[in-house]
């Protein structure tokens, strides 16, 4: 009998490979040297990893909502794959945050089998999340998703490209994998952007409507938070203001090929302190988390 003959063997075998909350490997960083480099403040490293991890986690959940709802099967699968890549990045980043500064992990009842990265994902309220607001809204239309994914993936790719030389070896390793993945995400969005812009009047109208919704949230991405400044100063992170021009050039490339003008809209405030990176979010995030977290929160001692 091979290992794959019965799905129940793995669940009921009674060995230590049973799992709770999704996937296995109690510690996704098992075997990875998590020593913190000299000159790196562990608390700042943890906060910074939460920012990058929460961007990926929240957006992964939003993209996964397209499963079975996308315009066709190929895009259903594409968006689910992108969501899965981001979820994987989120898991590693949240685990890195927890390893760097255990104080960031919500305290669960004694005996809870929930690993630290799951405690961070499922047991923080919206005010504890450090993602930018760009990733929060639920997209009712594929045109909005294409515009949002283009902006998000372009921004994230620019950050990850630089993070490959982070002084934190774990962050550098996560970034090196992430670059390969997010490059596919960005090109997928850029090609759809061009297709919708040059498609029918209706596809163009819906893409432009999406771009107008997304554009006001762009400025927040490059508004340096003190934690990001510290991260850049200590050599393990990137000041997002540094990638603003590069992201702009790339977006301009896609816009001009597509024959689309950049929307004339004002940034959605607030910026700087008091925005997403400080835990001030749109109403959409609270509702999303309620759905995402409800089962885990009902069973903090649960084994699955």
């Amino acid at each position: 009998m091979t290992d794959h003959d019965s799905a129940y063997d793995g669940l009921l075998g009674g060995d230590d490979s049973q799992w709770a909350f999704g996937t296995d490997f109690e510690d996704p960083l098992a075997g990875v040297d998590t020593t913190i480099a000299d000159g790196v403040d562990p608390a700042a490293l943890a906060s910074y990893c939460l920012m990058l991890g929460d961007d990926a986690l929240v957006y992964s959940h939003r993209l996964s909502q397209w499963a079975s709802n996308a315009p066709d099967l190929e895009d259903d699968i594409a968006l689910a794959n992108i969501a899965l890549d981001l979820l994987g990045q989120a898991r590693l980043l949240l685990a890195r945050a927890a390893a760097a500064d255990p104080a960031v992990v919500p305290v669960l009842p004694e005996g809870s089998p929930v690993p630290p990265e799951d405690a961070l994902a499922f047991f923080r309220d919206d005010a504890g999340f450090r993602n930018v607001r760009l990733v929060e809204p639920e997209d009712a239309d594929f045109g909005v998703t294409v515009a949002r994914l283009l902006v998000f993936a372009t921004y994230r790719l620019a950050l990850l490209e630089r993070l490959r030389s982070s002084d934190d070896t774990v962050l550098a390793a996560i970034a090196a994998k992430g670059v390969k993945e997010v490059a596919y995400h960005r090109d997928y969005a850029a090609r759809w952007f061009l297709t919708l812009a040059q498609g029918t009047e209706e596809s163009r109208r819906r893409l432009l409507a999406g771009l107008a919704l997304v554009w006001p949230l762009l400025a927040e991405l490059f508004d340096t938070h003190p934690v990001e400044a510290t991260a850049a100063g200590q050599g393990f992170g990137v000041d997002p203001a540094v990638v603003a021009d590069e992201v702009d050039v790339l977006l301009e490339q896609v816009l001009s090929v597509s024959g689309v003008e950049r929307p004339d809209v004002r940034p959605t405030g607030p910026l700087g302190r008091g925005a997403g990176r400080d835990g001030r979010h749109t109403e959409a995030l609270g509702r999303m988390l309620a759905e995402m977290q409800v089962v885990a929160r009902a069973h903090p001692l649960g084994r699955w």
Binding site: T23, A30, G88, A173, R186
Partner: protein, 170 residues
């Protein structure tokens, strides 16, 4: 570094190298390039694997399969560790693995793009010189850059009209 490999280490390595990928069972973990290292020390077998993609959902199954198979061969204490670096590349798929993919109707990856500096934007579908794994035709068309698993793209042969999967260059 040259160290004397004990007979048990050699045996553990052979057992681990034969464990297959849960999603592409025609490939062993060694052929896929996911199996990085097998070390035996004081009767403890430590196997190091690396994920193909960050969100690879097959890691847990790979671990369980390695543990079970090595236990079946008398290795009681088996530990599986994850190495994140260097990041997996499709270039690590062995020649035997590539042949196994083709034998099972999948298209093997070409050379992976070098990821050093900024990744250039590509607005046109990725150009790959592929052959249909069924009829050998070079007239193939990309249907999606994303497929049933994270590591595959979907193609269609324009001669025999059959769809097929291509393992992506990464």
């Amino acid at each position: 570094m040259t160290t004397a490999v004990s007979p048990s280490a050699e045996r553990a390595r052979r057992v681990a190298a034969e464990v297959t990928d849960p999603e592409m069972p025609m490939l062993t973990l060694a052929d896929l390039g996911v199996l990085r290292d097998v070390v035996v020390e004081d009767d403890v077998v430590t196997v190091t694997i690396t994920p193909t993609y960050s969100g690879c959902p097959a890691m847990a199954t790979m671990r369980d399969d390695l543990v079970h198979r090595l236990r079946d061969h008398g290795f009681e204490d088996v530990r599986v560790r994850v190495a994140l670096t260097p990041a997996w590349s499709s270039d690590w798929i062995s020649e035997r693995g590539r042949q196994a993919l083709r034998d099972h109707g999948l298209s093997a990856p070409g050379p992976a793009p070098a990821h050093g500096g900024p990744v250039p934007l590509s607005l046109l579908p990725t150009r790959r010189g592929l052959f249909c794994p069924r009829c050998g035709s070079s007239a193939t068309a990309l249907t999606s850059e994303f497929g049933p698993t994270a590591c595959k793209a979907m193609y269609r042969c324009e001669d025999c009209l059959e769809p097929f999967e291509h393992v992506k260059e990464i």
